[in-house]
């Protein structure tokens, strides 16, 4: 079972620029943990700090309870998988995989044996004598994973490993990685800007923006109950409606006067009357309705329709001029909507999340 990783008030400064600001979190032993965020948010910096290539300016990092300050990457119980894989082009596949074992006193025969075991694990038996350049992208990916696993790390760090692969392969590899993690029990720390990856593979996700950790939680909570405006718009699509709180209710709900109209939503962050807020409604939680059976019903007109195959995005304009996007599956009815048609959009209270006004994720 892998070790846990503990970050305590970790800050990283490069001259004037603060790459990571006061990060405090614990990755549990044996967990698949993802850092999710746009480029430049600091996730790569965190990975390099955990792997030992840089020491934090402030704060401490503990792996398995031991403070890692001053311990170099070759002495830490971690292994890093690089974005461009960094396999050794002049060595054969089995030599690549068993490279780390050279420095642990294993002789050539033992190393070859271990390499063959790992080749079986990654389902590339008998490929050991090939050169790396003779393998495909997906195969190289697996060799990189095997190379890291060969040194039996407690914590495996993965730096956007799937970003160079095509869609089908990426989806296949997601399942592979998850399976390998489950099988070996190693703690995985995974960084990516692709939220689909993060949500499907991880036990927990940390969403980051500009050096700050915005929200750490299970995939489901991150998606359904985002804690900040950034998380709400970075993870998945969301309809943001700016407005002001006009009423707070006893059951944790509140009424907000927004650009779309009056919306009743969940007030998890306990906004008070007069606060500037944004109400977020997921496009797939909106329904086209005939009557007013929902908590929130808006009168709109169809602006346009984006047909994307399995599903359809419907762009509707509200009475106050604000657009709302509705995401529907292509069940055959979607194409009935013509521009200019009046439709009613409905969504429940639980599907309207009220959050303090803050910066959204850039498109």
């Amino acid at each position: 079972m892998g070790m846990d990783v503990d970050l305590d008030a970790v800050t990283m400064r490069f001259d004037e620029f603060v790459a990571v600001r006061n990060a405090t979190l614990t990755v549990n032993s044996g967990e698949f943990f993802s850092f999710l965020g746009p480029s430049g948010c600091g996730k790569t910096t965190i990975l390099r700090m955990v792997s030992g290539f840089i020491d934090p300016s402030e704060g401490s990092i503990r792996i398995g309870g031991i403070d890692m300050r001053g311990i170099g990457p070759n002495k830490r119980p971690t292994a890093l998988i690089f974005q461009n894989l960094a396999l050794f082009p002049l060595m054969k596949v089995w030599e690549n995989i068993s490279f780390g074992l050279r420095f642990r006193g294993a002789d050539a025969a033992a190393r070859r044996k271990r390499a063959d075991e790992l080749l079986d694990l990654i389902e590339l038996p008998d490929q050991g004598d090939k050169l790396v350049s003779e393998l495909s992208g997906g195969q190289r990916q697996r060799v990189a994973i095997a190379r890291a696993l060969a040194v039996e790390p407690e914590v495996l760090l993965l730096d956007e490993p799937l970003s160079a692969l095509d869609l089908k392969l990426r989806q296949h590899m997601r399942a592979e990685l998850r399976a390998i993690q489950r099988r070996t029990g190693v703690t995985f720390i995974y960084i990516t800007h692709d939220q689909g990856e993060a949500l499907t593979m991880s036990d927990r996700v940390a969403v980051m923006s500009q050096g700050m950790i915005e929200h750490i939680d299970d995939s489901e909570v991150i998606y359904n109950r985002p804690s900040t405006a950034f998380v709400a718009t970075f993870v998945g699509e969301n309809n943001p409606f700016y407005g002001r709180v006009v009423e707070t209710l006893a059951d944790g709900h509140a009424v907000v006067d927004t650009e779309l109209g009056r919306i009743r939503g969940v007030n998890a962050t306990r906004r008070v009357v007069g606060d500037n807020v944004i109400v977020f409604v997921r496009p797939e939680r909106c329904k086209i309705v005939e009557n007013a059976d929902f908590d929130n019903v808006m009168e709109t007109t169809v602006d346009r329709l984006d047909f994307e195959g399995a599903f359809v995005n419907l762009f509707l304009r509200g009475q106050r001029g604000k657009d709302i996007i509705v995401h529907m599956t292509n069940d055959g009815r979607a194409l009935e909507f013509q521009p200019g048609m009046p439709v009613k959009v409905g969504f429940s209270v639980d599907n309207a999340t009220i959050l303090p006004e803050a910066e959204l994720a850039a498109d």
């Binding site: 290539f53 002495k75 292994a79 690089f82």
Partner: protein, 367 residues
Amino acid sequence: MSQVSDLLRRYGVVMTSYVLIACSVWIVIMIVVPQAVMLTYTFWYEDKNLVGELYREIDQGYAQLDAFDAKLADLDSRISAAAADAKSVLEIRRDEIVKKEKALEARLATLEKRYEEEKTRIYWGLRNYKYLFSNADHRMVFFKTIWASVLVTFLALVFCYPVAYYLAKVAPAERAALVMLGLIVPYWVNELLRVFAWQMILSGRGVLNLALSLFGIVDINSLNPPPPNYLGDGGVIVGMIYAYILFMVFPLYNVIETLDRNQIEAGTDLGAPWWGIHWHIVIPHAKPGIAVGCIMTFMLAAGSYAVPMALSGGRSQWFTQIIYTWTNETQDMNLGATYALLLLVLCILFIMAMMRVFRVSLEDIAK
């Protein structure tokens, strides 16, 4: 020929013709013709000894003729002054001498004709090579030159590899640029002047001993014994490493620069200590650069003239100095050519050996 049609397509007829013609001219005039001429030179020789001998004989002959003339003049005067009975004896003597003179003149005519022939006659044969391989002193100098050049190459490699690695992978950009500038700037000074500067450093009352005398290690003013000088074999090796350092650093730097830094980090992350990184990751990648650096340094060292001339303090001799003696002092171009050819063959063999040892091909080197 597909490369030619590629060139034609890209640059058009005029440019391509210019490039092809310029390259051919270069190759033929600068490489093929001189080497071919030099090669033919090794197969013929002039018999300078014979020519010299003939010249001496002719010289002596004329001297002898002068002596005869003097003798005749003397006899003539004695004959005219002599009495009748003594006259016949003297006249007989005079006739003898005239006969001798005529014989000598005839002989001189033959000798002179032969001299004119031999002066420009060339003999075809392997005498040059025989001479080369039979001269034990020169053989020793040749092997010493090879050994010292190998030593220079090896020491230069050992010294320059860390420098090149530091510049390519460790130093931040500005510092790397400054250090490289520091390496290049001395080359703006003429090579000869730099070599003489080393002579000043290494000589008995030179800069090095001046520094040492400040620490009391050496007395720079003592006359008996005089302060030690560092010229000689050691001085030559140091001077060569200094003179050719760029030719080792730059190929190494260029090739190490192309190594993906991630590979070094991956190696470290997997547990390799610094020497493991270099042995398994950096050096295999750097092999073409190492080969090029070694080849250039070896060729420059083996073919160096100024450095051994200035820094050996008269103690050691370099192969190039022998070639110089042949071509400039003894005026025996053929032996000079033969020795030079031997040097060329040596260098080619070295290049081939390097290519095999480092398993690099010509294309790798070209890059």
